[in-house]
Amino acid sequence: MNAATPLQSDTVLLPERIGELTGLAEFGLAGELLATFIAAFIVGNLMLAMTGVAGPWAKRKITAAFTDRIAVNHLGPGGILIIVADSVRLLSKENIIPENADRPAYDLAPIVIAGSALLGFAVIPMGNGVHLADPEVGLVYVFAVAGIASIGLMMAGYASGNKYSMLGGLRAVAQNIAYEIPLVVTGMSVVLFAGSLRMSEIVAAQSEPLITIAGVAIPAWYALVNPFAFVLFLIANFAEVGRNPFDMPEAPAELIAGYQTEYSSVYFVLVYLGEFLHIFLGGAIITTIFLGGPAGPVLPEIVWFIIKIWAVFLLTQWLRSAIPRVRIDQLIEIGWKGLLVLSFANLFLTAAIVGVIQ
């Protein structure tokens, strides 16, 4: 490991640090478990807090800025207290469950959707030691758990007993299959550079200087090393998280709200949170494997990490305001005929180049 990357080379993860700080480490396995639980609680809440800000407030403000409006401005400075008002409103609504709903599946779907995204954050290095686990197969793990969401979408679509939901669920599956392969294959081209699936090593590999201009070292972020893969990954990621121009599973103008049509109250909140968590998870993966992870000058690493994933979030909102939605058949065509071919081309080219250099 390179000495220039102090955080990642020292493999102290958040649970261990909490164990040491609180003295829980002395209690053996039970203490370790408790420390891990506390660490996971902190990280989970950090992400949930971000979606809490993003969903009811930031998204409205951003969209309003794109569309010449003001959006929420009555409660608190800049309308920020709408978050509180909206939480109360959404949670106090009646949870209407359709007569034809397939009960256990209908109830589980929101939890699967929101939970799968939260699981993904376990392996994301967020800087300043906020990193829950660093398994050898980190990248594969994160793709795998993010992929569970499509089961949740399918469950929601099927179990709601509504045809719009059904169509939305089917679209979600078709779309995720079509786009997960290019996503993973493009992700693999990064692994070829880094030589590891371990998140901390992928981040560490990006901290080396690419070129030095006037004394300022530009780090070898893979977005700069292989911009082609970066763009491919971004596009596949928008399809994966179901945002414009690929928001087929919801497609408000066609399918009302797709798989989430029949969800209300708390369930709706979970589904909605799950969506935002997925956008942030997508942002976190992009940050980690293309944007040098939490690295950045001056500010603390965790701040850089948050800035980067919010930048990706902002990009999704920008697209949402500016780009038309493609049709479902066009979407599948772009996925199988376009992105898949390009991502394999990218993989082989990268492999050849990496082979020549080494």
Binding site: Y164, P252, A253, I323, R327, Q330
Partner: protein, 555 residues
Amino acid sequence: MSTGIEQTPADGETLTEDELEALIGDRAIARDDHMNAPGFVVNPDEVQSVLSDLKERAGYDHLSSVTAQEYEDRYESIYHLKKYADASDEVSVVVPTASDDPVSESAEPVFRTADWHEREAYDLVGIEYADHPDLRRILLPETWQGHPLSKGYDQEKPQVVTLSEHANPLESDHRESGGESDTMFLNIGPHHPATHGVLHVETVLDGETVVDVEPDIGYLHRCEEQMCQQGTYRHQIMPYPDRWDYVSSGLLNEWSYARAIEDLADIEVPEYAQVIRTMGAELCRIASHMLALGTFALDVYGEFTAIFQYTFRDREVVQDILEDLTGQRMMFNYFRVGGVAWDLPEPREEFFEKTRDFLDELPAKVAEYNDMVTSNEIFQTRCIDTGVLEPEVAKDYGCTGPVARGSGVDYDLRRDDPYGYYENLDWDVVTRDGCDNYARVLTRMEEVEESAKIIQQCLDLLEDWPEDDREVQANVPRTLKPDADAETYRAVEAAKGELGIYIRSDGTDKPGRFKIRSPCFSNLQALGEMAEGEYIPDLVASLGSLDIVLGEVDR
């Protein structure tokens, strides 16, 4: 006697009235001329042969409207025919049927558009059409008792229909498509984000492909025709047209009634008022087309996007100008029989400046839309070659307005059947031959620019108009009583197409029959042709590109 009967006339050649009489021959049992057109009375069992002769041999290829009414001694269906090539060339076919057994032959095999028009006649008046493929109620619920516009209808009788007697929209879940694959029945609407109001589209899907589309309308039926029949010509009818196409097309709608009644009562409108009318109408057209573009973008983009908001921002400016002019934002009620309510707002310079500012900024805005919307590649892949409406099909369904012009049908009443001040102004009719959703959007956007040209010229005229000659209203008697049994059908080019009014006077100060020919009603019929075989998103986009307003469809 031989000319015109044996051979089809060449394009553009028109038959004289004598030749028409010869063409119809002894199938015409009498003449019943209307003020706008010669009328031939034919037997109820010869409707198809007469109409098809008129269509094939005399070139009357546009069945604009079907009016049904009941007299003391008979029912009557009137087929108002026009030519797409020459809108001022009209002929009416009047079909009387007996009071006790009102059965008449359907015109549907000749003109597809007669399907809905005859269903409406059956629904509201009670005439039955033999050979009609699907004679059901169209505006009223299927359980309705009686026909509201017929003589014997008891308005006091309550219409109590229990829910269980209604067709259950969830029941017919499964329908045979005829093919091998399994289909799914889907109710799109009446509450759906993309139906632009309360439209219910019964859709049969094969996967995501649309196999069959059946629009179910009438949710917004407000008895507009009957209300107009109960109002006096002079003042009480004019407020109603604002409520048909209520999205900022008010003045265009008012003009349709104004034109019909001015024709019927032989009123000459002062030129100055005509210029103001022309300007106001074109402002409305811009506002309406802006909204059409915005909502279409909403349908294609799928999210609440910038385009929708931008078009609303720009429409708001027009809306402000219209408010200055009429005192109202939506329900203008600005036209009067014989003119307009009042002159331009004082100070006039301010009004001119505001309107000119808007016109000056418009080209930049249109360029912005072209940048953001029409030149967007995803938008193009979504809109080009989807929702295709061939010109012949468009004519068969009686489509008019931007929908027809987007299919290359060069038909615009402002030019073809001139009224107002349009004749004296310099502007062009926009047509495109794309026949698809994209062509319809571009047609509307170009029409906005043409409207701006018209407004510009009107402003110049109004500014230079001599102060002592600004007459805004003709001298119209306090009570209007047109001659008994005078009938006319007059149409104007509204934002959505040909908006026509048929009025029959019964000698009193209220119309004996008031019939509205709504462009959206005819255009919506073509939805099936455009959407079948395509995907759901294209169905939604096609519906958006038709630019219907349910207030006008259902009346």
